[in-house]
Symmetry: C2
Subunit: 344 residues, 2 copies
């Protein structure tokens, strides 16, 4: 089969589209013929080895440490079950499935990801655990829309659940035009929260369309605007940006507020005044992807199709470098989707 | 009556022991004759105005902002109900009570404290809301032991509850010989957690006596010792110290671990690598005192007397400056208690 293979840490040149052996399903596994697979930040970070380690923040590392090259990337997988291992229910064959890309520890914490700790979906076929495929045959969403969900909307669902976001609460979403950002806006809105979104001037209307009640230009100082639009204080900040905006936004959280952080594209090392946390019962909640329970909630949303994830662009597998260039350029809103089964 | 009155922000000289009018109970309030009142960090910080503000970390401020001087300090109050307002149940008169010193917002977050936002217990009498007194007439603990509980053990109970600390979990307690530190050791032990305690060489045996399974000298690098004593990682760090030890301890938390912080005597501005939080589902949970529910749990422990809070020293009200000097000297383990009703 054809696959996009990461050969080592490095620039775009270390990602090669080439022929590789078809996957064989191990016990408890199925093989999915991939119809759509979306691009995520983690693809870029893993290629660059940009996660660092606890011991050496500058070390080249995947998010859980070393990567076993060559590695097929791609954590967002939608497709059709093509074959199953002998110990797996054969009635799965032919089903349209949404794949939960996570590997979990005994406590439901993700400790691995398809495309990082095992081969992923930038390929014509992928082997996954039968327990991780969710039947979405009846969903009104297209395969490309469904492919937007696992990593970005899974991450967003994890943030909303770990932050305990409820109806009627006012939340700030940073980086609201990105994959996780749009997911946060749509999922927070779906549970009745009021969303204030930080984005760029050029993307404000598209973020409002996704469901943000208020959009703010992120290059302006936001402190005064937040005091005006959320006079009672923010219940939560749902953040994938981190970086220098933190000291200005933190004082806008109300007592008991939650700063949920799932990424730090704006800068990962921040200076924090611990007094602002402990005097006001404020929690900074690191959120890594989702738990099995969170993914169940997401699969339910996918079947209900209560919202449509915006697909910004579609590419054939052969054009994955172009897809990643567009992704890194960040002029899009929504997800960029690869179609491994077409364009051969 | 006689009281220790804070006249403005400043050094020990701004705290004056003098005659003041007796308190009169407003609607819903009772007057408690104070038999014991313990010394806390917050007394010193409030006197110095050392809390800073969100806008200006160097500003002189109480923990919630301005202080209405003159102010009687003292948040740890045990005594006997002497009189009640007309609208309060008269059967409270004569009861031995433990006073919850907090004022709460509608969500149960503390927004004020006796001794800071209203007059406290470094006085012969204090007026408090009837809803905030807890009958401990039958407790086997002495008044002086009970006076150790509200602020330090209330804060510790808030930390354990907000951090979701359960039986069988391994937790690190920093500053384990201080008021909140000893409280954390005793309360964590009481719920079946395994306690590793950071303290000074001179205090290790007294901290072990309070219930720590392992004691570590805090001036040594602790990373290697923690890897050895908690090979599966820490479930939580219960921290009142903050400061420079954080980068060494944070990597020792297991996935899903909680860093619960309720003070920062070792330094309040820290540099944090957000990746270490979000890649491992680690939360930094700011914890301010307790909620009404937390104090109910504490009053239940006080009635059961499942452990005895160590009383390090006793002083008459006239000797409060000497008590605060001993407190600031930090050669004690446990609480320093003022007896306002004696030594006149």
């Amino acid at each position: 089969m054809r696959a996009a293979v990461l050969t080592r840490f490095g620039g775009p040149e270390v990602l090669e589209v080439r022929e590789v052996p078809d996957p064989v399903p191990a016990d408890g596994h199925v093989v999915v013929r991939v119809t759509a697979a979306a691009v995520n930040n983690t693809d870029i970070w893993t290629r660059e080895g940009a996660y660092g380690t606890a011991e050496d923040p500058g070390a080249r590392s995947g998010w859980r440490g070393d990567i076993d090259f060559p590695r097929v990337q791609g954590g967002d997988i939608v497709g059709v079950v093509e074959s199953v291992a002998d110990d797996v229910d054969r009635s799965l064959v032919g089903r349209r499935v949404l794949v939960d890309p996570a590997f979990y520890d005994d406590h439901g914490h993700p400790v691995g990801l398809l495309g990082s700790e095992a081969d992923g979906g930038f390929a014509e076929r992928v082997a996954v655990a039968a327990a991780r495929v969710h039947d979405v045959s009846g969903s009104a969403l297209s395969d490309e829309e469904l492919a937007c969900l696992p990593v970005a909307y899974g991450t967003a669902m994890g943030m909303l659940e770990r932050g305990g976001i409820g109806a009627g609460e006012t939340v700030l979403v940073t980086g609201a035009s990105g994959g996780v950002g749009v997911a946060l806006v749509q999922l927070a809105r779906a549970r009745g929260a009021q969303v204030i979104a930080l984005t760029t001037e050029a993307k404000r209307s598209r973020v409002a369309q996704a469901g943000a009640a208020v959009t703010l230009d992120r290059i302006q100082p936001v402190g005064a605007a937040l005091a005006r639009t959320a006079p009672g204080g923010l219940a939560a900040v749902l953040d994938v940006v981190g970086g220098p905006a933190l000291p200005e936004i933190l004082p806008r959280l109300r007592d008991g507020g939650r700063w949920v952080i799932a990424g730090a594209v704006g800068g990962h090392t921040v200076s924090l005044d611990l007094r602002r946390l402990y005097l006001h019962n404020i929690a900074v909640i690191g959120s890594s992807m989702h738990s099995p329970h969170h993914f169940d909630l997401l699969a339910t949303e996918a079947r209900r199709a209560t919202f449509r994830p915006p697909v910004a662009a579609r590419y054939d597998l052969a054009d994955i470098h172009q897809a990643q260039r567009e992704f890194v350029g960040r002029n899009h809103v929504g997800k960029i989707v690869i179609r491994p089964g077409t364009g051969r």
